[in-house]
Amino acid sequence: MTSPSSLYPALLGTLSFLLVGLFVLSLGIGQVWIDPTLLWFSIGEPSSAEAIILNEIRLPRAVLAVMIGAILGLSGAVLQGFLRNPLAEPGLLGISATASLGAVLAIYSGLTAFHAYALPLSALVGAFLAVFLLQALVGRTGDILTIILAGVALSSLSAALTSLILNMSTNPFAALEIVFWMMGSLADRSLVHVFLAGPFILVGGALLLFTARALDALSLGADVAQSLGVSLQRTRTITILGTAIGVGAATAVAGAIGFVGLIVPHVLRPLVGQKPGRLLPASALGGAVFLLAADIFVRVIMPERDLKLGVVTAILGAPFFLWLLVSLRRRSS
């Protein structure tokens, strides 16, 4: 019996292989091609201009693409499994929107001028505010529809407040900076960003991976999951907290990057035999691969015009998603 379960190790292997390949390619590709192996000899003490570019520009960018892509894919898979809704994605809970609002406030108020950490930190504060609000709104009921609606309400409110700030902004440069930041990008990030977001993304990711078994059980509905020994309340808390910490940190350093968390789990689900738990590691790897590829694409297609990553993931993502929906429908009918 060659069920998808026997193909699972092969899938993870292929994704890991792609990940390593794209990572090396991402180091090499830019306005000038740099031999990625140079990094090996220059870590710690870069001696040439090329080595400095590798160490201080390309490496952080590639590492961030891996981390952020992984957490977006992973949290998308967890949210889809937890809410048992294939339309769920990290943006749904309002966490990306509140994190953006925090960042925008930092830019608008001029806090960013004082300290490099001001922007990511206030984005994180925004993400955590979202968690507390969500927990308060959802309360002890844990009803799926309530969670989704609360997330939608939170998103709309944050988007409206962000627009209000743009609206009020007297400084056109600040407004432009805000707009560009919101598009989402990995350009010009440094190792500072890696070290700032890294721990949060790791903790958030570890929390999210912990839900695998509960998500499997939830395929049979909340009641049966509970009768199989799953605590719904704990699962919900871990899901919301892990998403907020991980996606909050990702948004804090890269802005809002849409569609990764929606598409990646969708594409991989049939390949892992539909099991929500098995989808998690695959989606983390797949998200990293997707974002690395998109970030390389951004640099190749228009090297001179700082094309924003978030714009590209949406432009590539939305039509692809539509195609996927139509082809799935055709196959099932």
């Binding site: 009641d223 605590s231 539909q274």
Partner: protein, 270 residues
Amino acid sequence: MTRITCKDVNVSYRSGPVLKSVSFDATKGQLIGVIGPNGAGKSTLIRALAGLQSYSGDIQWDGRDVHRMAATERAKTIAYMPQARTVHWTLPCLDVVLLGRLPHHSRFAGPSEKDRETALAAMSQMDVQGFAARPFDKLSGGEQARVLIARMLAQDSACFLADEPVNGLDPAHQISLMQTFQKFAQAGRLVFVSLHDLTLAGRWCDRLLLIEHGSLKADTSPGELIGTGLIQQVYGIETMDIMLAGQPTIVPAAVRSNASTLVPNQSDSF
């Protein structure tokens, strides 16, 4: 040792009381049918026994409060199958059944070879072993029901709580399911089944709990229940009571002309 004790169990929804002061106890080795008209509170009682429902009163398994049991331990004691037959995602049937083994393997380990064997054995018990690799949503309603029953059996708990498990099964599979439950009960487990089919209930159950408007109207063996005329009164029907293979059997025959249950909950004050 499996023993359940219910003392003065009450459940209320916002719309009113659903279970009123239900008390009974049961030990292993019994196949217990939960019967009663639509909306009587059968599902609520089963959910309460499974620890899925908040209630006032006492529900204890072997002397421990059902809400206080450790989650894994409770899962090893009680397996529950709801009336709704939802499986999210189009999982292959074997994976659905393997979910019943979750309480038995450690958090990060997948199902072992033994889990797989148990799952396949449960599947052949329900005559669905041929569907192992088939996606669940491609099966017919009755086949899906049998896969979900296999899922519950695979959990290998001391007690099974099944909410209307025979719905949608053809007669052969209905009878073989009741026989399976009877075998499990005789092997020392405790099985609760809610049923609408009074014929099956009378023929296969050792004991029947008759519920009307949330109250336990009768708690006795099928043979004795038939003599009381309570079934006819609670359901508002006329029945033919016959002996079949030495078992008392109830066959609903006609609606009573003055059937009060056609206007349900009239006696309830909201």
